[in-house]
Each structure stands twice: as structure tokens, then as C-alpha cells.
């Protein structure tokens, strides 16, 4: 029996699609399409939104308005924004708990995200997930996983579903350098390669798993080389440069969609803040942080915009002002939103289906209040910046 066989043609909606053979030639490296003015400005604004959103979240965390863990993505914005700019609407992604940037880059309304941080009923997860658990399933956003490495095998499962259906979707799986020493990482990469699953694995190597430097945790510090052990195409990538990110991942997605080949990319990056809010970062020097900040991904895209004459300095300032207003609006929305009522506690535990004898659980609120249908995040009126900002 051959190691890799095609899914049966009867097993899915797009049943006519023939599975590519493992011996087919690699998709040539073409990189990402060049950024036009509109797209470059959109990405600049998006990266800035992530940064300002998190700076303000940090602020109100200190004020006690956000509880629990708060893992900030500041410094790593080019990765989420570059990757999401290449995804199709029906693709899936899943990441770890440093997840604010993923949802914002995927285009989620930032207001329910801020409300989620504050534990309010209007939060994208109804105040039951918090910082580590942003999900927006209608947009393929399986968001944040709080168990280091656990979601990597789940991503393989999404890839397996795509193979069974025969569609041209792909899956992106984000995780940190701390996750690659978990067994789940190895189990997932092995089957992704063995079964040709359309999953792009992204290790965001920000050099520290919590406070432990990569070289103190991994025998191999060039992390992408671990992909070789499982026969994956593996590449390093500069995560502080959105152009490098887009070029690397455009090729990876093409391989996933056309050849059903997984790719393992090590994106080298840096988080400017501590691991979470409780981390003062004493394991690294001020000089090291400053050295990385010199390569700031937002500033670099700003330079590109000016060089290309896509924008004037005043335009960039106006974008920043508008983003700040949008974040103000997020804070207002979160603060004015109601707390979740007590019955939320018992909802969303089970799906109410006809296969369960409900008499058995009629006195158990966890079953009684579970709703029959999945919820979808509520749409709110779109944010519009006041006209004065642009002038």
C-alpha cells in the first residue's frame, strides 16, 4: 500500500478535485504580489491598530480593568498582518495565547475584543474567554489556545478535514518558540508531512519562552531546521519585515493549496514587552530590547510608504490619530458594556441535540441553558473616524 494515497472522490463537497501526487514539482517561489498604495496603507494602519490597542490594554490592565493574563504582541505585528493579508476568507487559523494581533489582523471588530479583555457581556467570547481566548469562527478564526503546543495537533486535524473535503483551503498555525519542545509539535509535524496536510506552521521565535532563552531550551537554535526531521519544507524568515513575511508565506500558501504540502517557517522576531504583565523582563538587557526596536516593523513600513510617495509624514500622523480615536472608542465600548449576567455561567457548555435525553439533565443548568444553535459574534455599527481627523 502506498504511503500517501488520495482521498476517495466521493468524500466531500469539492469531490472532483484530484489530489496532487507527492512527486509533483515544487511550486516555484514567486513571493507575494507587490503592495499597492491602498494595501500598504491598510497594513500600516492595521499594524498600528494592534500596537495602540495593546498599549491601551496595558494601561487599563494597570488600572485594574483587565484581569488575569495579558500577553502583548507588540513588536511582532508584521507577522500576523503579513500572513493574514494573504489568507482567503475560507481559510482557518489557530494560534497560542498571545492572540490579540491575530484577531485584529484578521479584521475582527476591535471593540468586542477590548470588551472581552474587560470581561464584559459584549466580548467576542461573551466575557468567558479573556485575553487568551479570542475566537471569530465565521472568519475561520480559532484564535487563542492557552495550553502551550496543544493546538498544533488541532491544526493538523483542520488540515485533515480539508483533505477529506478536497477543497483548496489552508490552515495557519501560530505558536511560540516555547511550544516546539512539546510532544504535540512533533506529533503534528510528522503527520502533516506523512499525510500531505495543507497546514503552514509558524514558529514566532521571539527568543524567549517566557523567561528562558531559546538556547537554554532547544538543542538546535535554528528552529526551522527541526522541520527537516519530518521532511517538511522549512525556512527562516525576518519577522520584523512585512515584505519578507508576505513573500515567504505566499509561497507556503501556494504549496499548501496546490500541492497540499505543509511548510514550517521560523519567523525571527522580538516581543518588546515581557512575557505577560507580571514579567519585568529581567532576563534580558535594555540594549537588546533597543537593538530590536531599531528594526521596528511599523516604522519600516512607514519608511516604505514615504519612499514610495504613497504617503506624506502628515498622512502617517493622521492615521495614528485615527487609530487612537478608534482605540478610545474600544475603551468606551468596553467600559460602557454590561457585565455578563449570572446565567452566562451556565450557557455554552453543551450543544442541545436530539440525541440526548434531556430529562436526565433537566435540573442541571449547564445542560438546560445550553443553546441549540451556535452563537455568532454580534455585529456592531462600524466605527467611523470623525471627519476632522483626516484634515
Amino acid at each position: 500500500m502506498p504511503k500517501k494515497s488520495s482521498p476517495p472522490p466521493s468524500s466531500g463537497s469539492a469531490s472532483g478535485a484530484s489530489a496532487p501526487q507527492s512527486s509533483s514539482p515544487a511550486v516555484p517561489s514567486t513571493g507575494a504580489p507587490a503592495l499597492d498604495r491602498a494595501e500598504a496603507l491598510r497594513l500600516y494602519r492595521q499594524m498600528l491598530l494592534i500596537r495602540r490597542f495593546e498599549e491601551r490594554a496595558q494601561q487599563i490592565y494597570v488600572e485594574g480593568k483587565i484581569g488575569g493574563f495579558l500577553h502583548l504582541y507588540i513588536g511582532q505585528e508584521a507577522i500576523a498582518c503579513g500572513i493574514m493579508s494573504l489568507l482567503h476568507k475560507d481559510d482557518y487559523f489557530i494560534g497560542a495565547y498571545r492572540d490579540h494581533g491575530y484577531s485584529l489582523a484578521r479584521g475582527a471588530d476591535p471593540r468586542p475584543l477590548m470588551a472581552e479583555l474587560c470581561g464584559k457581556s459584549t466580548g467576542i467570547s461573551r466575557g468567558k474567554g479573556g485575553s487568551m481566548h479570542f475566537y471569530d469562527v465565521p472568519n475561520g478564526n480559532f484564535g487563542g489556545d492557552g495550553i502551550v503546543g496543544g493546538h498544533i495537533v488541532v491544526a493538523a486535524g483542520m488540515g485533515y478535514a480539508i483533505r477529506l473535503r478536497g477543497s483548496e483551503q489552508c490552515v495557519v498555525c501560530f505558536f511560540g518558540d516555547g511550544a516546539i519542545n512539546e510532544g504535540a509539535f512533533h506529533e503534528a509535524l510528522n503527520v502533516a508531512s506523512l499525510w500531505d496536510l495543507p497546514v503552514v506552521f509558524v514558529v514566532e521565535n521571539n527568543m524567549y519562552g517566557m523567561g528562558t532563552a531559546v538556547e537554554r531550551a532547544s538543542a538546535v537554535t535554528s528552529l526551522h531546521e527541526r522541520g527537516a526531521a519530518y521532511g517538511l519544507i522549512h525556512l527562516p524568515c525576518d519577522g520584523m519585515d512585512i515584505f519578507a513575511v508576505r513573500d515567504t508565506f505566499a509561497d507556503a500558501f501556494a504549496r499548501a493549496r496546490k500541492e497540499k504540502k505543509p511548510t514550517f517557517v521560523e519567523v525571527k522576531t522580538y516581543r518588546y514587552r515581557g512575557h505577560s504583565m507580571s514579567d519585568p523582563g529581567k532576563y534580558r538587557t535594555k540594549e537588546e530590547v533597543e537593538k530590536w526596536q531599531e528594526q521596528d516593523p511599523i516604522a519600516r513600513l512607514g519608511v516604505f510608504l514615504l519612499d514610495q510617495k504613497f504617503a506624506q509624514p502628515a498622512d502617517l500622523e493622521a492615521i495614528d490619530a485615527e487609530v487612537n480615536l478608534e482605540v478610545d472608542e474600544c475603551i468606551r465600548f468596553a467600559e460602557e458594556s454590561p457585565w455578563p449576567p449570572a446565567e452566562y455561567m451556565y450557557e455554552d457548555v453543551y450543544v442541545k441535540t436530539p440525541y440526548i435525553n434531556w430529562r436526565a439533565v433537566e435540573k442541571d443548568p449547564a445542560w438546560e441553558l445550553s443553546l441549540p444553535e451556535d452563537r455568532v459574534p454580534v455585529d456592531f455599527e462600524p466605527f467611523k473616524a470623525p471627519a476632522t481627523v483626516k484634515g
Binding site: 496543544g150 495537533v153 477529506l164 499525510w195 451556535d374
Partner: protein, 324 residues
């Protein structure tokens, strides 16, 4: 009605559901070309091919994780654990992923998957391969836990589990794979969370599931010869637990014995005992008594193993004590 073994009934359930719904697929160690370590999946790879009957590497966290991921995006995977002892390596997937994401996402996600395989003691496979770990799974809100004792229940409940949209842990029993029983010819499901009175009686209520239900029915035969009529209630589903028929029976018999293959501490039986004493306190003529495995790992020697697993005579002794 056909007479089938538990093994055949489980096989039929999966085959029929895979024929009925192209989103159902099976994965696990040796489920395909080997025909299943316990031959539960026999013949399925020939009928459905390698992609719907997926032989996997020995990597339980991956098996469960692939099932979870596929379920979240609309498939209906059945993940076979060669035995539930190995499911400990996949516990994170069930506890932190399958059971949690619906809640943590505010109801956006559903996880229509089944994890199934044999549980409990078999034949001299010693401490690591003989465990009854149902309390691990039934502890967790978000999971459904099913443990059938007859071929008919096994088929009807497995079909319901596959069609249900919640993550289901379906624990079979290796020793019961060859027992035979009547199974309806037509397509049927049995509601999840529905207890069944397997034998009626008026002297004592025995609550037992999976293999212990079978052992309890044998004990009831022994006791019937002494004029003691046992009512045996099989919850069949551990979570959600259909308590009403248990309480109803205890109110009639005024005595209750709970039999389980698992250890005594923090067990499903301990929970049922708590519920019975709380709900039926005024109806009880004696304390609820329990029959468990001894509070030690399973020994290898066949002499010790037989002592370890609750036998009909031991159950009968406990009933005599509760009635004394």
C-alpha cells in the same frame, strides 16, 4: 432481531454511520489494514478507503487532536484509542480542547467527535493496561461519557454518539467484546443519558454499568435462588447521568449497592452514592454500599487478578450485608 456480539454491534454502528454521512471518518492505531487491534474496525478500510479509515502513528495526543480539529470545522471523527489507558496521553485534548472551546468561545464552536476504545481489566495485562478511568473523563463539564453493557446498547448509543454534536467519550470493555445479545435489525439510536432497568426486583437496587452490570446480573441470579430479588439499574451513560430511575428504584427497594470496576476514591460510584443518600435519605434502610476494585494497581498473576475484579459472588455478599 439478530444475535450479535458486542464487537459486531460496534462495527455495524460505525459502518452504518459512515455509509450514512460522508463527514464521519475513523482514525487510530491499527484501525485500517490491521483491521483493528481488537477487530472492532474490521473490514472498514476495504469499504471506505485509507482517508476515511486512517491508520495513524502511535501518537495519542495527535489522534485526539486531529479529531478535535476536524470536528471544529465540521467533520464527525471517531478517534479510536487502542485502550483507554493510552488515552491519558490524549487527556489534554479532551479536557482542554474538546470540552472547553465551546465555552471559551461563547458558544461559537462545536466538537462533534467520538473517542472510543476498550477500558477496564482484560486478561492478565497488568497494572498499566487494566484501568477503569471513567471518573477522569466524567469529571469534566463539556464531555459526554458512555459505557454500554450489551450489544444492543453499544450499537444504539454509538450511533447516537456519532450523530451528536458534543464530544463523546465512549468506553467499551474488552471482556464484553464477545458477549452476544439481540440487536434490532432496523436503524435505531438509544438516547444518550437514559438509564435502563436491566432486571426488576424489590429487595435491593444494584447500580452498575459496563462489565459490572453483566457481573451484577450474574450476582442477581445467585441471589434469586436465595429468595433475594435484585433490581439492576444500568445508567449506560455516565455523563449526563440519568438519576431518576436510580432514585425511583431505591425508593422501592430501600437498599442500594453500587458496583464499579474502578478504584473507590473519587469515583463515579462515590458520586452516585452521594446523590442517592441526598435524594433518598428517608427511603434507605441501610447505608449505600459499594463494591470496587481494591485500592491498589492491578496485579499480573491470574489468581490475584480474579480477586481484584469484582466477581458475582463478591457482589452477592455485599447485597447480603446491605440486607442483613
Amino acid at each position: 432481531m439478530a444475535i450479535l456480539t458486542m464487537r459486531e454491534a460496534l462495527n455495524q454502528a460505525m459502518r452504518e454511520e459512515m455509509q450514512r454521512d460522508p463527514n464521519v471518518f475513523l482514525l487510530g492505531e491499527e484501525v485500517g489494514h490491521y483491521q483493528g487491534a481488537y477487530k472492532i474496525t474490521s473490514g472498514l478500510v476495504q469499504e471506505f478507503g485509507d482517508w476515511r479509515v486512517r491508520d495513524t502513528p502511535i501518537a495519542e495526543e495527535m489522534i485526539a487532536g486531529v479529531a478535535v480539529g476536524a470536528a471544529w470545522v465540521g467533520m464527525r471523527p471517531i478517534a479510536e484509542m487502542m485502550t483507554f489507558n493510552f488515552a491519558l496521553l490524549a487527556l489534554d485534548m479532551m479536557v482542554n480542547h474538546a470540552a472547553k472551546y465551546r465555552y471559551m468561545s461563547g458558544g461559537q464552536i462545536r466538537c462533534p467527535m467520538v473517542m472510543r476504545g476498550p477500558s477496564g481489566a482484560a486478561a492478565q495485562v497488568a497494572a498499566q493496561h487494566s484501568q477503569s478511568l471513567e471518573s477522569y473523563f466524567s469529571h469534566v463539564p463539556g464531555l459526554v461519557v458512555i459505557m454500554p453493557s450489551t450489544p444492543k446498547d453499544a450499537k444504539g448509543l454509538l450511533k447516537a454518539a456519532i450523530r451528536d454534536d458534543n464530544p463523546v467519550v465512549f468506553m467499551e470493555n474488552e471482556v464484553l467484546y464477545n458477549i452476544k445479545g439481540e440487536v434490532p435489525d432496523e436503524d435505531y439510536t438509544i438516547p444518550i443519558g437514559l438509564s435502563e432497568v436491566k432486571r426488576t426486583g424489590h429487595h435491593v437496587t444494584i447500580v452498575a454499568w459496563s462489565r459490572m452490570c453483566y457481573q451484577s446480573l450474574l450476582a442477581a441470579d445467585i441471589l434469586a435462588k436465595e429468595g433475594i430479588e435484585c433490581e439492576v439499574v444500568d445508567p449506560r451513560t455516565i455523563r449526563p447521568l440519568d438519576e431518576a430511575p436510580i432514585f425511583e428504584s431505591v425508593r422501592k427497594t430501600n437498599h442500594c449497592v453500587i458496583v464499579e470496576e474502578a478504584w473507590p476514591q473519587a469515583s463515579v460510584g462515590a458520586y452516585i452514592s452521594d446523590r442517592v443518600q441526598r435524594e433518598c435519605f428517608d427511603d434507605l434502610d441501610a447505608p449505600v454500599m459499594r463494591v470496587n476494585a481494591p485500592d491498589v494497581p492491578m496485579p499480573y498473576s491470574k489468581v490475584l487478578e480474579k480477586l481484584y475484579v469484582p466477581q458475582p459472588e463478591k457482589i452477592a455478599d455485599t447485597v447480603r450485608k446491605v440486607l442483613a
